[in-house]
């Protein structure tokens, strides 16, 4: 079922928590170079689906492939290709911005070049705050630092869960640029948002998660958050 041109292929993904079924058989194919936005109500299972693609949750049923690698059988191959931006920023508040990035680089086994770290921080507008502890950052600044961390991971597949939350217009542009850079390199992006206008302007394709399944989204259908 896997073809070289697709970034993600999900087939019949179902997941339950206790006795409640959040996903009931979601199918989705994302091509290389494609950006897909998923709309859905609160509790429709968007985050669950993203966490399954990120190998953080196992599906109760169904299977999935990321760049030809099976989620269940080759999780490490999947993990080395994805970059997840979740609800939380994965930022340690008692470390400085530069130390946070340095930690990520050391976890990847890369050497920490202070000038490269500073350059990455400058791209997200935190150049002046490299040596400030993240605890003092505003929510928007922490989100920007999370975007810098995502850049450091150099992912082929971006998994973005409400990436615009707490970002100002300039910060929103940073997300757009990150998606564009990833796609240029042959990567793909899955984007979860409740913002219909941003979804349609950034993504090639917009789908809906409804009653635990993926459905095509028709313009005009209001997705209430």
């Amino acid at each position: 079922m896997s073809s070289a041109s697709s970034a993600v292929e999900l087939a019949g993904i179902a997941r339950r928590f206790g006795s409640r079924w959040v996903l009931k058989g979601a199918d989705l194919v994302v091509g290389s170079g494609e950006a897909v936005a998923i709309l859905g109500r609160n509790g429709s299972g968007k985050t669950t689906l993203l966490r399954i693609v990120a190998t953080l949750l196992r599906p109760s049923r169904g299977s999935g492939v990321v760049f030809g690698h099976d989620l269940a059988r080759e999780p490490d191959a999947v993990r080395s290709r994805i970059g997840l931006l979740g609800h939380t920023n994965a930022i340690y508040p008692d470390l400085t911005a530069a130390e946070n990035l340095g930690f990520t680089l050391r976890m990847l086994g890369r050497s920490v070049d202070p000038r490269a770290v500073e350059a990455t921080l400058i791209t997200v507008g935190l150049g002046a705050h490299a040596n400030t502890r993240a605890r003092g950052f505003s929510a928007g600044m922490q989100r920007r630092l999370a975007l810098a961390r995502l850049r450091a991971l150099e992912p082929q597949l971006l998994l973005l869960d409400e990436p615009y939350s707490s970002l100002d217009p300039e910060g929103v542009e940073l997300v757009t640029a990150l998606i564009a850079d990833t796609r240029r390199a042959g990567g793909a992006a899955i984007l979860i948002t409740h913002d219909v206008s941003r979804a349609t302007s950034i993504a090639d394709r917009v789908v809906m998660l409804d009653d635990g399944r993926i459905a095509p989204w028709t313009p005009g259908v209001l997705v209430a958050e």
Partner: protein
């Protein structure tokens, strides 16, 4: 995973945990205070006659270490959960044992530092001769602490992620630590009595065996504990 990458991860996690601890200090001060108050309360429970206190001193010292040290382990993971960073840690490809090793090293440094303050306090309060048997005492404290921190760091990976974590951790941990407590107290008693190479050596061997068995078992099974 290459050895270089594994080492880089171990050191990164240990450095990150210790730096956070050093900058916030709340955890360390709290644990040291808890240890000091425990030593005092044991004194009030057994005193004022100094004889029973001195007889029980080795046991009291180790109970103090266990009761205060146990407060440190859940923090190690709460730090990740509060920052929303546990997912990010799990998404680095490769085995998860370097995460465990890093946290274990950080917790080991933490508890050894608590002991460096607590043991002299116990020496003063319980009138223990600490200087003469110091090398043996340091060795026994180190061996006992390695086993304690290994199992504490391991079980906290589960306990810190369920409701009632404060209850579950000691419930899982303390029954497992009975042989360690028995051996550590036996060895400490022997060392304090000035007989480090005599009957204390059997207890020291048991402590070393305990450490080796559970270091191996926890490293081999940590992947099962930390995932999903």
């Amino acid at each position: 995973m290459t050895a270089r990458l594994a080492l880089s991860r171990v050191m990164a996690v240990a450095w990150k945990d210790l730096t956070t601890e050093r900058r916030s200090k709340a955890g360390f001060n709290g644990v040291v205070f808890m240890a000091a108050i425990t030593l005092l309360m044991f004194g009030f429970a057994l005193g004022p006659d100094p004889a029973p206190i001195r007889t029980a001193a080795a046991g009291l010292l180790w109970l103090t270490v266990l009761l205060s040290g146990v407060l440190a382990f859940n923090r190690s993971y709460e730090l990740e959960i509060e920052a929303g960073a546990l997912d990010a840690l799990l998404l680095y490809p490769g085995g998860r044992w370097p995460i465990f090793a890093g946290k274990l090293l950080a917790n080991l440094a933490f508890v050894l530092l608590v002991e460096a303050i607590t043991v002299p306090i116990a020496g003063v309060l319980y009138d223990l001769p600490l200087l003469t048997p110091l090398p043996g005492l340091v060795g026994v404290l180190f061996l006992g602490t390695v086993g304690f921190v290994t199992l504490g760091t391991y079980y906290a990976a589960m306990a810190s992620r369920v409701r009632a974590r404060e209850v579950l951790l000691p419930l899982l941990l303390f029954p497992m630590l009975v042989p360690l407590l028995v051996a550590a107290v036996g060895a400490t008693k022997a060392v304090l009595a000035g007989d480090p190479m005599g009957y204390g050596s059997a207890w020291i061997r048991l402590l070393a065996a305990f450490d080796i068995v559970f270091l191996a078992a926890t490293f081999m099974t940590f992947d099962y504990v930390i995932g999903e």
